[in-house]
Symmetry: C2
Subunit: 456 residues, 2 copies
């Protein structure tokens, strides 16, 4: 039985598999910070080496792009069998604020059942598990049971422009019968989860400009425009205290949920509430009234302020009226809300909200479409079987609150069902200090992916 051989192989290689993952996490492949460009490439090179030498894929390539390179591999030598495209990303979020990490973000540390480090769960751990699954199949069976393409990007955390460009222009060369993505989460520990929806995103920067230079509030207080105050008015108007986003057309665009979906999300909310509170260090989960927690976290559009910067922010006091202030904001989008259209709504609304003496520039930093997948494909059914075998429990089908922009593109360009298997946990601190990956899920992911490919 292959499943047994797979499990035995994983067991026999536990330490090495974990050490190799730690080597990958140790590379600070922060795609959004130019000072890490060389590190990002180092992570790509590491994966090329793994695919060539450890996995033994017959064709492995580093694909240069305008940004960070793509890692591509294929083993297309099982005629008559389906082709699976495995997607992942090797870049990570910036690690700041560094002082909040219990151990340095790029010195991966095993702590109980977790391995801690930036990118551990997003997405190095789950992505690397797919490579270790391929290696396991190669070493136990001598070859892969299906045709496989692997495509790993280095810009998922900074907009994913290069993979989007590549998929659009090389769609034919990526032909596949299904796409496998390990970059989502379980709704709770030991609750095997398949994600069938992702939110889209628009990320923008609002730059407010007032005087020609910083002014002294003793002289100009009461007569000069204040870009920080203007930003407060704009941000306050864009989202009300009731959690409602003040872009009415945004809600008109969205595809309404069915009653069944809302009811399922309400049930899921009960399972998730305690985890969300504990993992976030929160006492409550505020937001729009009349929507359950899971609905707000995965099936409603959001508006969030990610950073504001302007004026004097050191210790002590300085009575400056700043010449300029900036806010970084994003909207998470649900199906039918396209990033371009929503960016236009945002820019228009900000312009309407401008105040005398302050100009507002709105810059589109990146965007990605929301995705809603069919639950009917045979690939999805094989994945569910593999998960249920691994965990001994039936699968929960969930919508994910985050965004993986390229998934919408796979759906659209390759016309292949996308299967998203979640191995992250709610307390994994992704995008936050002390990000970690639950090590038992690493091995579970390796076994599940190997079994899924065998079942196909």
């Amino acid at each position: 039985m292959p499943a047994n051989r797979i499990a035995e192989h994983v067991e026999a290689n536990r330490t090495r598999f974990l050490d190799e993952l730690k080597n990958l996490i140790a590379i600070p492949s922060v795609s959004t910070l130019p000072e890490h460009d060389a590190d990002v490439r180092r992570a790509a090179d590491f994966l090329v080496g793994q695919l060539r030498e450890q996995v033994g894929m017959p064709r492995v390539e580093l694909i240069e792009t305008a940004g960070h390179p793509l890692v591509y591999a294929e083993a297309m030598d099982v005629p008559g069998k389906p082709t699976v495209l495995i997607y992942g990303h090797y870049d990570v979020q910036p690690a700041d604020p560094f002082e909040l990490w219990r151990t340095p973000p790029f010195e991966p540390t095993v702590d109980g059942d977790d391995v801690r480090g930036r990118g551990a769960v997003d997405d190095k751990g789950p992505m690397f598990a797919t490579l270790k699954a391929l290696e396991t199949l190669m070493q136990t069976e001598g070859k892969l049971p299906v045709n496989v393409r692997v495509l790993i990007e280095g810009e998922e955390e900074s907009g994913g422009a290069s993979i989007a460009e590549y998929v659009k222009s090389h769609g034919g060369a990526l032909q596949a019968d299904c796409v496998l993505v390990l970059d989502t989460a379980m709704i709770e520990k030991n609750m095997p989860t398949i994600s069938y929806g992702l939110r889209g995103i628009v990320y923008a920067e609002i730059i407010a400009r007032g005087a020609g230079h910083d002014l002294h509030s003793g002289v100009y207080g009461g007569i000069a425009p204040n870009p920080l105050q203007a930003l407060a008015w704009v941000l306050s108007d864009l989202k009300g205290r009731d959690g409602r986003i003040n872009l009415p057309e945004l809600y008109k665009m969205m595809q309404p949920l069915t009653d069944d979906e809302r009811a399922a999300l309400a049930r899921q909310s009960e399972l998730q509430e305690a985890g969300f509170l504990t993992a976030g260090g929160l006492k409550e989960l505020p937001g729009e009234a009349n929507y359950s927690i899971a609905e707000r976290a995965s099936a409603r559009p959001t508006f969030e302020v990610h950073g504001v910067c302007g004026g004097f922010t050191g210790e002590g006091a300085k009575t400056v009226i700043p010449a300029e202030a900036t806010a970084k904001v994003s909207l998470r989008l649900v199906p039918n809300q396209t990033p371009d259209a929503v960016f236009k709504l945002l820019a228009k609304r900000v312009a309407e909200l401008s105040v005398p003496g302050v100009t507002m520039e709105v810059r589109d930093l990146h965007g990605g479409d929301a995705v809603l997948l069919s639950l009917e494909s045979s690939a999805l059914k094989a994945a569910a079987t593999a998960l249920e075998t691994e965990f001994g429990k039936s699968v929960t089908y969930a919508r994910e609150g985050g965004s993986i922009p390229v998934v919408a593109l796979f759906d659209e360009v390759l016309h292949a069902p996308v299967v998203m298997l979640g191995f992250g946990l709610p307390d994994d601190n992704l995008h936050a200090p002390n990000e970690k990956f639950y090590i038992p899920n690493y091995y579970a992911a390796i076994r599940t992916v190997a079994n899924f490919l065998t079942l196909l």
Copy 2:
């Protein structure tokens, strides 16, 4: 005629007087930044040396405090003559943003008729002019015409706690018949100005705290409190787009202006408007409707946001919901609005505006009372005569928009009239990059102060 001898002496020492001022400006005595503590002390030592060796004051002391030292000097050897207490400050504002300076802030540079550098006008130039006036009198007349005390602080830009403490506890030892302050501005170049009012101030920090650590908006967008959004709601509520501060009791506290005062401020506004626009690099001067520019800039309370900091503010995009965000704010106050009472109003209002999941801490960083001085003292009349002699024009009596917290204390503890002679100009960029002092006003200040002391 002493006035002639004074003018001749100033003329004969032009270069040295300016070089010595440049030496003082070159010391980065930024009182609010702990890394400059040694520089602040160096500036105090420089003044002690000047008062001892150049001016020749018989008693000169460096007075240690809990913060930065006070510089004190006296020459009390003219029995039967009045005593003048000369106040100034040797500390300066932080110089950032450094990249906007045309020349380095602590490398004083003469550019046409100006000397540029942090602190040039606030308050090193005008303050140092009072020392050079004393030196001029000593050297031309052999002694001072009145009894003089000099008290120069090093914390004016960071709250002035030490001088406040000292004046309260040593008021008797500072006995004076009038106080002379050179730390204000002319309403326009060549418009000799005596300030009879100062705004008070409350400077506070609002710290908004949400989750236990930064969260990922893909997971928590829609269910987690966002401290930056909460700050936007609070700041937006505290001041409306109409410029009105949403603390109704603030307006009830204030002493109303007389019709004559409002009319005078309206006339002054016409003189000041072009200067405010040019100096600030502004196209308009927005604010409360139905109040003239000068009234808004000097006789109305203000609320300004000086800095906001939170979340991801680097290049690019990070989808973080920050755990914490901070805003620095101040209110400028007019007579009868006491800092303590206004801080309580602010803290109460912020508490009322709190939103679910976000705690708001309001910290009082410093405060100072507003001042409104009588125009009837003989000291003020002597000052007006000295100014009119210097400029050949009648004096404008103005209210200053800024705050010099210790002036209220002099008024209250010493019961002596305070005379504020303005030698700054509207385009001197105080508290901003490229701060400067108009050199002809430096010499005018030296002559005017020397003549004022002679006239007393």
